[in-house]
Structure formats: C-alpha cells, structure tokens
Symmetry: C2
DNA sequence: GAGTGGTCTAGACCACTGT
DNA sequence: CAGTGGTCTAGACCACTCC
C-alpha cells in the first residue's frame, strides 16, 4: 500500500522531469494543488516536503513554491592541494590573482564574496584527538564562507590551528588579513611549516537548522561534511577544518592514479 | 520564534546526549510524550521526524521508537584501488582470501553476506556520456549489496560494463560466478584490460524510499552517492559504478600526498 | 489587505507487532 | 487481543511578501 503523499510526490517528480512544470516556474498554490489531488492540506504539504528534500522544489514563505533551477555546481578536486602548494613560493601579486574557490567554481574573483571570522577557543576531545594535542590546548578558530555574489554560500568552513604554532607571525591572528593570498598553506609557510599530505574524511547528514538557513537549503536537503587535516613534513597535524557543503550542488572529485603492471 | 517541534527535538537530542535515554532503549510511547510535552500527536511526531533524520532515533512500526545505538562504521579509502590492482596477478587462492569490503570493515569473510544480480540494458544519456559510448550501447548491469550477517547492507551498488568489451570471457556474464575473487579489476584483466586510474565523484542526498528500505535507514537519513569510473591505460572508461551508502555510518577517506619543495 | 506558505490541533482510522 | 506507530482529515491561526 503506497501512501497518498508518496504517490503525489511521484507525480510531481514526473511532471518536473517532463518539464510540465518548467525550471524556475512557480507551482500552483498549495490550496489549489490540494483540491486538484483531492487531499487535505497537511497531506499535500507532506508530498511537497518530499520533493523539496530531493532538491526539486524550493519553498519561499509568503511567495510560493518553485521548481528549482539546477544551481551552479561546485566541483572540488584533490588537485587543489598540490596547486595551492605550488603557489606558495610565487610572488604575492601572482598568488593574489586567484584562489582555490575560483578554481572549483570557474567564477572570477570579482564574482565571489568572502567572509571570515577569527576567535580563540580550547581544544575539546574531538579536536584534541584530531590535532594530536592535549584537551584544552589554546586554538585559533576561523570560520569562513564563500558565496557567489547574491547567491547562497558554497560552504561553511570552520578551521582550527594550534595557537602556539602560528603566533610567531601576528598577522595570522587577525581576520582583517583575510582572504590571505595563497591560502592556508602560505600562511603556514610564514611560520616555517611545509605541508606534506592532506587527508579528507567525508560523511553526510541532514543539515542543522542553522546550516540550512546559512546555506539556503531546505531542512531535508543533505549536507556533505568534509574533515580536512593538513600534516607537515614531520607527520604532525597542523590544521583541522570541518567544511559543510550542500549535497545537492557539490560534487567532490577524487582521482587515484594506479601503478602500471610490470611488463 | 522557534517552533514547538524544534524545541522538543532539541530537548530530545540533549536527553540522548546526556544518556537520560540510553542507547538501544525504547522511548516512551508517542501518546505519552505528546502528553508530557503538551502538544498534539502530529507535532510530537514532527519532532521525532527530526531526531530520526539525524540518526538519533530509530522507529519501529508497531513496536516503539528506540535510541539508536551507534552502528558499525565503514571507512572506505582510496588505497583500495591500488590494493585491488596489486592482487590481480596473485593466485586464485590468494585472491579469494579476502576482498575490499573486508578491508573496509575489518570483518572476516565469514561474517559478510554478498549478493549480486546481472542483467542487460542499454546506455541512457547519462551512462553513454560516462562511458564514452553512443546512447543505446549494449551494457551489462550488475547490482551488488554487501552486508554483515543479520545487519543492513553497507551499500547498494550498480555497476555498468560495455557488453562488447567483456564478452570474450563468458564467465563474466554470469552472476553465479560472484563474488569474483579479486574483484572487477581481475575480471577486466581476463579480457586483457589493465586499469590505469580511477575517479570518484561524491555527492549527497536523501534516500529514495527503496534505498531507505534496503539500507534500513529512516527516510530522513542522508545517503552518500559515489560514482566510480575505472579507466584503462588507453584512457577509455571501462566501468562505471554508482554506489549508494548510508551517510550516517560511512566515512570516505582520501589522502593526497604532496610533492616536497625543492631544498 | 490579499495571497502565500508555516505551525498546530483534536480526532479518526489503518497497519504492524507481540501475546 | 492490546499496544504501538503511520496516515489522513478539516479547520484554525500565524508569519511572510507584495501591492
């Protein structure tokens, strides 16, 4: 026995695919749809909840429900780390020409808006383990978000550095120096740290209410959570960052090159 | 103005964290909770929808709502591809000792149940592009799932091979030969194909009703979707696989090694 | 103010599980 | 059978947006 709301959701999906409802178009009001499908408002809304979660429909309070235009997708590749490392020794003018987000999105620097905040904090259990330091260690917390002008952010990032490791360069402690030309790897370079390798651990979950609001996604749209850890040439963790990205507009791309068989 | 269901959900989250409701324990019946929080049943259920989506609570129809015990997590790393490649030239007995899923989970072969189905299909737009073949090309579709005995599957996989590319070895066309010792790379080896590199593209979304049922997750728990593409030494795509994994029990781990700066 | 979506209610009835 | 969760309804009222 398939429920009514599932059948309605399936019907809506199909109509969107067949472009009976074109992308960007407003759907009929919920009260109209409820009459059309001969169900109660609650049931109609439950069907809409489903297609919203799938990213097919966007709801705007007081305005209407819209067929979601496929958004700019962000493709985040692993090349970015080597690319960033290669740039560390370039001149500042070269470095400031473009950053990794421009790489990911293909947008120009002028189209991107960048926002950063710094604060101090102490390592909790989780961060202490990730950074290999005692609980309570003094950390610098940096929160970032990048967006295309007028659009929702591509991601929310929270990065952690061990305070003691970077305080040799006071400029690194001040958010007004962001965006730092050359990124975190260049920042670390100014205090004598060379990044050797990077690990990224990915999982997925529904967004918290805050995240849904900040990323401008519905509460049902999944987010990808990426924990990036930078290690220096001594194998020590030097930065841990948690990056939250909307699952429906992000594609994480990884390439693994294999060794050839002996001939 | 925070809604009632959000406040109730927040309260439930906190109680679970504080272990007022212990893992595995049954929650009070919905009718009891609804009285306790002084809300209607619908509102109470909406709050439960939220914590279910977060993976904190599991609902069992006719039985009750349970605090979810943390499940076995699967860690899938990129080493697996080189690891699999290295095994292609081993003897069959060596190859059959263990497979990649055992690697990922740390479980023994005896604890894992493997299921495969084969069927023929034709390339749609999406697959044609991914495999670099014309639309309508004859493909072999293979669906897989692997589970720990008595538990939900770790993933649902759908793999596509170009029929013409592999028909030289009829054994590859028959699902009864699964699980094939040594995996897909060994299968391709039997028709003279060496895999050169692998790409993995990851995104996230809520599960379809089918997927939720098969993976035994609630409709609100996110899934990770990984499209893996194998390329041979000529740069030709030789396998495309879509793998769906529960976001709350999967961790995808990638390591990028960077080149050292010149001294 | 008119029209839209968002929250909430009280109550009915159905479906599943265990005894 | 009793007890549980799952679906559905009709209607009230609130919050947001635009004119």
């Amino acid at each position: 026995m398939v429920s009514k709301y599932e059948r309605i959701a399936a019907d809506l999906r199909q109509r969107v695919r067949k472009e009976e409802f074109a992308a960007g178009e407003r759907l009929p009001a919920e009260t109209v749809l409820m009459d059309r499908y001969k169900v109660s408002l609650v049931t109609m809304r439950r069907a809409l909840d489903l297609v919203e979660a799938e990213g097919l429909v966007e709801r705007r309070h007081g305005i209407g429900n819209f067929v979601r235009a496929p958004r700019q997708r962000v493709r985040r590749t692993t090349d970015r780390h080597q690319w960033e490392k290669d740039r560390v020794h370039l001149s500042e003018s070269e470095r400031s020409k473009t950053g990794s987000t421009e790489q990911d999105t293909g947008l120009d620097k002028e189209q991107l808006v960048f926002h950063a905040e710094y604060s101090d904090c102490e390592a909790d259990d989780d961060l202490a383990e990730a950074l290999g330091v005692p609980v309570g260690t003094h950390l610098l917390e940096r929160t970032y978000r990048t967006r295309a002008a007028e659009d929702a952010p591509f991601n929310l990032a929270r990065s952690y550095l061990v305070h003691e490791m970077i305080e040799a360069n006071p400029k690194l402690l001040n958010a007004t120096n962001e965006p730092w030309a050359g990124g975190t790897q260049h920042q670390l370079f100014t205090v004598g740290i060379e990044v050797d390798h990077v690990t990224e651990a990915i999982s997925g979950r529904p967004p918290s209410p805050d995240e849904a609001e900040a990323l401008e996604i519905g509460p049902g749209v999944s987010v990808l959570v990426l924990r990036k850890t930078l290690y220096d040439t001594g194998g020590r963790a030097v930065e841990v960052a948690d990056i939250v990205m909307p699952g429906d507009r992000t594609e994480l791309l990884y390439t693994t090159q294999l060794k050839r068989w002996p001939i």
